[in-house]
Symmetry: C2
Subunit: 136 residues, 2 copies
């Protein structure tokens, strides 16, 4: 599969949940969801997806690589803007089907294509119908 | 579609990214990824998925409802344990294909089925091959 991780099918449920073997579970599209937070502020910056190749590259280089679902290609975040994301910490969850990375963004540039630090710049207001959004 | 939100196909890209209309984009499986953090500590507790029905119920009740991919059914988190999640804040991202909810957990019970507060209890150690996990 990869030199960095194994298939989750090759280990027991107990090992998957409590063990030291990294066995990330990719979904039917070959992707694993990745939450990206700022190492400095803890803020959630974005949600992204990695395939096997991009996770392998991320682990080899320490720089975040994703799979762009919209462009259907490998995506080294910041490859054009220069705002590369250096992984300070990576975590995985109980069943190893999600990743959480804490990153430092080179140049302190915006993460979002709308030029904001975080993609989550809108609040969902609910309680009366329909729900609405506000930028805050 | 729902009384709480509209289809993203019904609004422009500008409105999708900057507007006040809530138009969540569900994926090919009818799901939207949801990051769940603790309102009190900011810690990422879990990653979950909502379908149209569970998002509608979440907005109507203020209590988190998900779609369980493993059990293929609506899942009111805490329905058996009593550790219901009350939504203190909901956010969405630039293209409205992800949600971030900040919750208070009733009874301060564990979020993870392994009895831990967070599902992300393992760190991925990389830099030498293969990557390994440690509980920390």
């Amino acid at each position: 599969m990869s030199s960095q991780f194994v298939s989750p099918l090759s280990i027991s449920k107990a090992d998957l949940e409590e063990g030291s073997v990294f066995a990330p579970k990719f979904d039917d599209n070959g992707l694993i969801t990745t939450v990206v937070t700022s190492f400095d502020t803890g803020e959630i910056l974005m949600l992204a997806y990695m395939n096997e190749q991009s996770l392998q590259l991320t682990l080899e280089t320490g720089i975040a690589h994703y799979w762009s679902r919209s462009r259907q290609r490998l995506w080294k975040k910041g490859e054009t803007s220069g705002n590369l994301q250096t992984i300070m910490e990576m975590r995985t969850d109980c069943d190893q089907d999600a990743l959480w990375i804490k990153v430092k963004v080179a140049g302190d540039g915006p993460t979002c294509h709308t030029e904001r630090n975080s993609c989550f710049y809108r609040r969902v207001n609910f309680g009366s119908e329909p729900a609405t959004l506000s930028i805050e």
